[in-house]
């Protein structure tokens, strides 16, 4: 079984500050890390690897230095890593990113499960995971906090239709999906895409042998020309999102605490609500 984990390299937002003049992130000198939610995605992939003897492939779209994030994933135990990187991808929004990643996943062909973190801490959109599943036309389960069951039966022969790889009736996943009120249990055939929340596991630390392996591991690099992509759908051109303005919301003014006995306070409150007291 092959599992694909999509990860993103992000600035460590605990260290990022915003330039009050330009309203943009001050990125210089800020450490880059694997998006924390993706660490749970990697961990879940590695746990399934141990259970099913699966192969875990990590994939990221980003600038050349995102290779670091892939090496870190290998040091944790991932088997293979692919860097999708090209000037032509620059400026991609979540639509173009999920389109491009879906094309890279199609190129891998043989997979049963795609795992993403629920969202990235720099953009917080939570759109790329679901976007990939839509582009691939496979089912999705978002905000997964537990994989209850998973059954994988490989198809009889090695031949596979391109994106609907390893789809057979008795390969399925059953997962608990977090909602605001509680959780839902959803069953889906494989291949399927899930996005995971931090409740799902506790990510491991790298091992020394893993780190040594990661140092010399070969990382595949795919550019636009290596993928079957429509040039109009990638990069800035392929991105319908237009950023009109970025601003820091004004800090909230301090609240007001009304004091006194209940009658007095409720009277004051009513006046305030009516707007009679400035």
């Amino acid at each position: 079984m092959n599992i694909i984990v999509c990860i993103k390299q992000v600035p460590d937002t605990t260290e990022v500050r915003i330039d009050p003049e330009t309203n943009t992130l001050i990125r210089s000198g800020v450490r880059c890390i694997i998006n924390p939610f993706d660490m749970y995605a990697i961990e879940e992939g590695l746990r399934l690897k141990d259970k099913f003897e699966a192969r875990v492939t990590v994939i990221t779209m980003g600038p050349p230095q995102a290779e670091e994030a892939l090496r870190e994933a290998i040091s944790l135990g991932a088997d293979e890593a692919i860097l999708v990187s090209d000037r032509l991808f620059a400026g991609s929004d979540t639509w173009a990113t999920s389109y491009t990643l879906s094309k890279a996943i199609q190129k891998i062909k043989d997979y049963s499960l795609v795992i993403c973190g629920k969202q990235a801490i720099d953009g917080d959109t939570a759109q790329v995971g679901p976007g990939i599943s839509a582009h691939l036309d496979i089912p999705q389960i978002t905000y997964v906090k537990k994989i209850e069951e998973m059954c994988f039966n490989s198809t009889e022969n090695g031949e596979r239709s391109e994106s609907r790889a390893t789809h057979s009736r008795d390969s399925y996943i059953k997962a608990e999906r977090m909602t605001e009120e509680g959780y839902e249990i959803i069953e889906s055939p494989l291949p399927c895409l899930i996005t995971v929340v931090k409740e799902i596991n506790e990510p491991r630390l790298p091992s020394l042998k893993g780190k040594m392996k990661a140092k010399s591991a070969g990382i595949k690099k795919w550019e636009a020309k290596d993928l079957d992509v429509d040039p109009d759908l990638i990069g800035l051109n392929g991105s319908p999102t237009k950023v009109v303005k970025i601003f820091t919301p004004p800090p909230r003014k301090g609240g007001q605490i009304l004091q006194g006995d209940p009658e007095e306070v409720s009277e004051k409150l009513v006046d305030l609500l009516k707007g009679e007291i400035p």
Partner: protein, 383 residues
């Protein structure tokens, strides 16, 4: 200071640092209060391959030596000098096998120790045999193809938790130090039990227990080296392990100083940060300098040891002596700079002072280290 570490040594240091800050620091106070053994952290250290950093690759390790062990122990000790000891004391119990074990013994024991699946311990001390290690009263009586072990070891680090024990016993008491031998004893062997677990001043996350042997049958193939070599095994082992104790002291001191620098910047008296007072600044400067001097001595000793140098007792003793005295002084001064807050258990600094003390005592007290150094000097002069 740049010590020109190899790429692999930097990886080990960074990995140990990550474990220290992410896994150990948040639980150090809890383990200190409860005094229970930190198996969850030991598992993390094992999964990260830290237990194999001084063991050859063919036995499942990553092929480093004392220098690698020193780097990891230092980093782990910055967060907790007790938890880091699970690694350092396992190394102490493993060195006799590395130095004197047969191929068969190495293949049998080292792979599980390298993976952290099993811990080790070294048992020399007894109620009547502390600094005078040659006075061991535990006996190993030869009976055909096995030995019968009788006696009680005390204050054995990792005691009760470890699976593999290297134990020094006397095969011939009339010969004194020349009548000792070292044996590998596995937990669970009939006649081998654990006595009292000690309640200690510091390094409370480390287990310190009594080992009781009563007609404990040890197969002959578990003898390390030869009969009569027990004391040599112990001394050669200490030569390798003392830089590790020194690194534990170094880490404790550095961990304490790091907290103290942060504290003095935040604490305000007389309308300003206490770090603005020269009296405080000079203390910080002295501490940082002494820590760096200890680090330089320890790293140099570790590298010399790993180079295969034969005579390392003096240097090894110097590293342990200097670093542990330094750590006691530095941690005491750190408590001083925290003032009354430093004396309170709610603040993390007093633990460093309690943890530092042991490094002046075990694996030979600092008086004994001075003795080792002085006798080397005198011997060198005579030659």
């Amino acid at each position: 200071m740049d010590y020109l570490l190899t790429e692999e040594q930097i990886m080990i240091r960074d990995l140990a640092r990550q474990i220290a800050t992410e896994k150990i620091k948040p639980v150090a106070a809890k383990y200190d209060i409860e005094g229970i053994f930190p198996w969850d952290i030991v598992k993390v250290m094992g999964d990260s391959d830290l237990f194999g950093i001084y063991i050859e690759e063919k036995y499942g390790g990553t092929g480093g030596g004392v220098m690698e062990l020193v780097l990891a122990t230092e980093e782990l000790s910055k967060a907790c000098g007790g938890i880091s000891l699970s690694l350092a004391a396992t190394a102490l119990g493993t060195f006799p096998i590395i130095l004197f074990g047969t191929e068969e013994q190495k293949h049998k024991y080292l792979p599980d120790l390298a993976r952290g699946k099993k811990l080790a311990a070294f048992a020399l001390t007894e109620a009547g045999a502390g600094s005078d290690a040659a006075a061991v009263a535990t006996t190993a009586e030869k009976k055909g193809d096995y030995y019968l072990l009788n006696g009680t070891k005390q204050w054995i680090t990792n005691g009760g938790e470890a699976e593999v024990y290297t134990v020094v016993a006397s095969v011939d008491r009339s010969k004194g130090a020349r009548g000792a031998a070292t044996f590998i004893v596995e937990k669970g062997t009939e006649g081998f039990e654990f006595g009292k677990k000690e309640d200690k001043m510091g390094i409370r996350a480390s287990a310190t227990s009594e080992l009781i042997f009563s007609d404990c049958k040890i197969p002959k193939k578990n003898l390390l080296g030869r009969e009569g070599m027990g004391f040599i095994v112990a001394m050669k082992t200490f030569d390798q392990s003392r830089p590790g104790v020194a690194a534990q002291a170094l880490g404790i001191a550095q961990g304490a100083l790091d907290l103290t620098v942060q504290y003095v910047k935040e604490r305000k008296q007389f309308g300003k940060s206490i770090s603005s007072f020269q009296g405080v600044q000079f203390m910080l400067a002295d501490m940082a300098t002494e820590i760096e001097a200890a680090r330089a001595l320890i790293y140099a000793t570790a590298r010399m040891t790993d180079s295969g140098a034969k005579k390392i007792s003096k240097e090894s003793a110097m590293a342990k002596l200097f670093a542990s005295d330094m750590a006691m002084k530095v941690t005491t001064d750190c408590v001083q700079l925290f003032g009354g807050y430093g004396y309170m258990r709610d603040y993390p600094i007093e633990k460093f002072m309690r943890d530092a003390k042991i490094t002046q005592i075990y694996e030979g007290t600092n008086q004994i280290q001075r003795g080792v150094i002085a006798s080397s000097l005198i011997k060198e002069k005579a030659a």
